[in-house]
């Protein structure tokens, strides 16, 4: 048998489903040796094992650890200004992460809800008053989380074209190393300048909060800028993709969309958000780790120095965890999905993402009940080449 090659491709006409080969491998074995850009790595195919390993301190998230599977085939690099603690291990990861956990607390995110509702209502007012068809990505899906994360971080929204374009390049898997480095450099120097401004004139925002840590000597300005880059990218790209791809998935499942359009039950809406996160898996590129100490799993030893890939798209479609996993069912209890990852690196911004999606999904289809695609499904450009999956554009009308 030839070694399967990762990443795998989705089936034509099935834009919401993981690659069929992943499902075949999941059925065959819990642990499969794969080839990722010419190097061997272990693919972990099942939900339980993925959760256990993601919570296991014997696995490293540091890209420079020997064996770490490069997501692009290019050698790992640590830039002068990194992209924050996402690629670090504890204890340094925990030290830095705890500096920015407070603004994402449930009660503080809840306090933002009415403001997000106003943003969403305002953008829908503009949609309804504007021309149609319209690209939902540009006119709605990107602006909502961009406006919100700008406010939270203290980044001027007027710069949104700049940071959206550079973020898009940075997470494009087909970008050259030079293109990616340039995009990263642009964002890092932008955030570095902004942190400099906040040092002079602090406001009431997350970046200003970090300047206190710089003054106290707990954080370098470079690390503060790195955290800013991470939160700015993660704060808009991911949620924007969930809004657009989620809307498309609902348009393709009108009976599910009708449930959301007709309910005023916040619990049902919250459950639907979890189900769409489980079903869509916009982080479709496999979480990756390097092994620090030998680990035995299903009679197989994963050795120190090996690489491990843990794709959440297949874990969230594991039939031993979710019955009838390929069906989108907004009534399902999907809360134990791993769309945000698991372990100490699990998404920091998840309370914010959830709240934004709850507001969007409970508002957009009620206010535009006849919303529909303005092009055929096969004309929509999907982000097969993105580290974050979604659609590049979604022309809609009503």
């Amino acid at each position: 048998m030839t070694t399967p090659v990762y990443p795998m491709t989705r089936a034509t006409g099935c834009p919401f489903d993981p690659p069929p080969q992943l499902r075949e491998l999941q059925e065959e074995a819990p642990l499969v040796q794969v080839d990722i850009f010419g190097r061997p790595a272990w693919l972990v195919t099942r939900y339980d094992d993925q959760r256990a390993l993601l919570a296991d301190p014997r696995l490293s998230s540091d890209v420079t650890t020997p064996g770490y599977p490069s997501p692009t085939g290019q050698p790992p690099r640590k830039d002068g200004v990194g992209i924050g603690f996402i690629l670090m291990d504890d204890p340094e990861h925990a030290r830095l992460r705890r500096m920015v956990t407070a603004p994402f607390m449930i009660k503080r995110i809840e306090a933002m809800r009415s403001g997000v509702q106003k943003i969403v209502d305002g953008l829908i007012d503009d949609l309804l008053a504007g021309p149609k068809p319209v690209d939902l990505v540009e006119a709605f899906a990107l602006p909502v989380p961009s406006l919100v994360i700008c406010q939270l971080l203290g980044v001027p929204y007027a710069d949104h074209d700049f940071f959206q374009q550079n973020s898009k390049m940075l997470i494009k898997m087909t970008a050259t190393p030079e293109e990616r480095a340039a995009a990263h450099g642009n964002l890092a120097s932008y955030l570095n300048d902004l942190v400099g401004e906040k040092l002079e004139n602090p406001g009431n925002d997350l970046l200003s909060g970090l300047t206190e840590r710089i003054r106290s000597g707990e954080l370098t300005r470079q690390d503060a800028a790195g955290i800013g880059v991470l939160l700015l990218i993660a704060g808009h790209e991911t949620t924007a993709n969930m809004i657009a791809l989620g809307t498309l998935a609902l348009l393709e499942h009108p009976e599910q969309l009708a449930v959301l359009r007709e309910t005023d039950d916040p619990k049902l809406v919250a459950g639907a958000v979890e189900e769409l996160l489980r079903y869509l898996n916009i982080t479709h590129n496999g979480r990756r780790r390097a092994v620090l100490e030998d680990i035995e799993l299903h009679g197989q030893v994963i050795k120190a120095g090996d690489g491990v890939i843990l794709p959440n798209d297949i874990a969230n479609r594991d039939p031993s965890m979710f019955s009838d996993p390929d069906t989108l069912d907004v009534h399902r209890d999907a809360r134990r999905h791993v769309a945000f990852g698991f372990g100490v690196h699990q998404c920091l911004g998840q309370p914010l993402a959830r709240m934004e999606l709850q507001v969007v999904y409970s508002t957009l289809y009620r206010r535009i009940p006849t919303l529909r695609r303005a092009v055929e499904l096969d004309e929509i450009p999907f982000k097969h080449d993105g580290a974050v999956y979604g659609v590049y554009s979604l022309p809609v009308t009503w």
Partner: protein
């Protein structure tokens, strides 16, 4: 039912609060878990088990 939380392990995801707001809270300075009661009424058992299951840092232990 007895609940034990480990504040050193906690990564402040807040998922326990979403699952069982009568039992778990987050401290203001950094969002780390605070236990409101370590022996909640039985009718909250399902929510408490949900909280323990979704804690990404495995920082919640429930002893029935």
């Amino acid at each position: 039912m007895k609940i034990i939380v480990d504040q050193d392990k906690c990564v402040a995801s807040g998922q326990c609060v979403t699952a069982a707001a009568d039992v778990f809270d987050q401290r203001d300075e950094d969002g780390i878990v605070v236990l409101l009661t370590d022996n909640p009424p039985e009718d909250l058992a399902a929510d408490v088990h949900q909280a323990a299951a979704v804690c990404p840092a495995l920082a919640i232990v429930v002893e029935d």
